[in-house]
Point group: C2
Chain length 335, copies 2
DNA sequence: CTGAAAGCGCTTACAG
DNA sequence: CTGAAAGCGCTTACAG
């Protein structure tokens, strides 16, 4: 199929993709010679006149080696893939930017795959990525016991997990020590001699709707809590909504603490006390880990672990609305 | 370079990418026969036994045709690219999801390129995409007179513009009639017999910081306005921040109206009156337009134009906090 | 009908 | 030193 524009503007010439063969014919040299000029092969000895002629031709035609052919020959596509639940979630937006920045330095482009947390969609994406021979995959799966992880481990493809500990300690990953949020909550409650009954720990998932449901269940308890720790800022946003609807003041009637410190957190009223996670760095670290595997040719189950920081704002009793930004080293909760 | 996992789990076998040639050797047939089985070529007549043997082999090895080789032969990569300023902006997150959904139906994957509004980064991305032979590009450029658009027009590559009218009326695009926001504002002011002096229309760009600066300039005027129309919701968020800092009540002292209806708009306090743009549909329409060009093999400067709807919330005097969601057909502002 | 060959557009080891 | 050839892994028109 030939791509022919119906509207042709006279002022400018359409530039068609050229091939080495065509250029070679025009320059009266062998295609390999052109290739060597393009790739600046230092071992290439040709006359200055010929070289100049070829370089002029290259500029004139705006020649760019066909990346597909190059990829086939060189066995590398210079493509990374990112598999996440939903880019609409600001947490993943920041993550992607970090990955892209890390990848761009090395000439990589990045495919983005959203799964909406569906194992089927995730599997379909992963199969497609394998077939396309992407050079590496960064997976931020939302489900904990993800069979895809085990599968990925045997696919002969560099990969890195983000924001989840590995099931079996074999996978390279990037996390903050805060991933084990439930455990951290339980430890803190125990330390303070407070109860941490199961009904005080309803499942919320990671987005707003789940936060609403969980908060409603909590407030329906005989002894409703006066403070909640939400697993993510988006879940905290759901808690805000419920509090507001029921006329509860934050933090006087209900203190709320979130997790991630997405941009929205600072804009809520009152500002959300939350745990700051360096999401952009997560992304670039993840990119670095895959690229390292690509370079060395083998999977190093290396890990990058960040220590998150508490950012105190108005939503917790201790906070002030003036964004006091008190940074407190987080309690380490090892696996 | 061979990719060798250092850690080998005994329970499962690593699956290496296989080739047609290897399979052919194992099945004792010609590679082309395997290819025909994979692609379900109806003209292929082979014995049932052979076919069964091949199919078993295919399953056993989890064979997936090398997409790169396929792409080279077939001259299509099944890759689309999206070039936007910043995926962190929820507007573009929604757009991407729409595009991905439209693309996935046809077996396409999508590369995401962020430019941060930098012409240099945009150019670098575009060059890279051309070299990779992506099948189509969707460009949501932030600058109006973008030279990249003219350049793109001559690159022999299907493309679609999103949320901007074409400079010269030659490009396929997807917009809402609301893109011409400044013009709409001016028309409405004229109709109401109100002044629309230049100092009442400061440049804000499209994100929060610009909204803060613009709002500060407006409020420093001898006769500051009591109502503002922000070019995007994010700019409106900046206006909220300034109002709050100066102790101005919204909407009593300052009414604010935004544009786009990003998820955040409904969560602001008071809720932001804004113009709802069907961003997900923008995305899928854009995908449809590129795919159509890819299918037909020529650029059809077709346009998809959506009529946006006004969503009245608490930030405008007319609104109620109960999200009255009054939908008013927008004033058409033709080019 | 069926199998073998050409060719997509590159890169680079190798023969001259 | 330099040019021609092999080969990456596919698909499909074509000869037998």
């Amino acid at each position: 199929m030939v791509f022919t524009p119906e509207t042709n503007v006279n002022e400018a010439i359409d530039v068609m993709p050229t091939t080495l063969k065509e250029l070679a014919a025009r320059a009266n040299v062998h295609p390999s010679t052109i290739s060597r000029v393009v790739n600046q092969d230092p071992s290439l000895r040709i006359g200055q006149a010929t070289r100049t002629r070829i370089e002029a031709l290259l500029r004139e035609t705006e020649y760019r080696p066909n990346g597909v052919a190059r990829g086939l020959k060189l066995r590398q596509t210079l493509v990374l893939a990112v598999v996440i639940p939903d880019i609409t979630n600001p947490f993943f937006g920041g993550l992607f930017r970090g990955i892209e920045d890390g990848a761009a330095q090395r000439g990589y482009q990045v495919l983005l795959c959203n799964t909406d947390g569906s194992p089927d969609r995730q599997r379909a994406h992963l199969h497609s990525l394998i077939a396309r021979r992407v050079d590496g995959v960064i997976l931020a799966s939302s489900f904990l016991k993800d069979p895809a992880v085990r599968w990925l481990r045997h696919q002969h493809l560099p990969y890195v997990l983000v924001n989840r500990f590995s099931d079996e300690g074999l996978d390279p990953f990037v996390v903050s020590t805060g991933v084990l949020r439930r455990r951290g909550y339980q430890a803190a409650m125990a330390e303070s001699g407070l109860p941490a009954r199961p009904e005080l720990q309803p499942e919320s998932g990671f987005v707003e709707e789940g936060g609403i449901r969980a908060m409603e269940r909590l407030l329906a308890l005989p002894e409703p809590p006066t403070a909640v720790f939400a697993v993510t800022d988006m879940v905290a946003v759901g808690a805000y909504a419920v509090a507001r609807r029921l006329g509860l003041r934050v933090p006087e009637d209900l203190a709320i603490v979130g997790y991630n410190d997405i941009p929205l957190a600072a804009r809520l009223i009152p500002g959300l006390t939350t745990v700051h996670v360096p999401i952009h760095e997560f992304g670039s670290a993840a990119a670095r880990l895959v690229l390292e595997q690509i370079d060395t040719g083998h999977v190093t189950p290396k890990r990058v672990v960040y220590t998150p920081e508490l950012v105190v704002r108005g939503s917790s009793a201790a906070g002030t609305e003036e964004r006091a930004a008190v940074h407190v080293a987080s309690r380490g909760v090892g696996e």
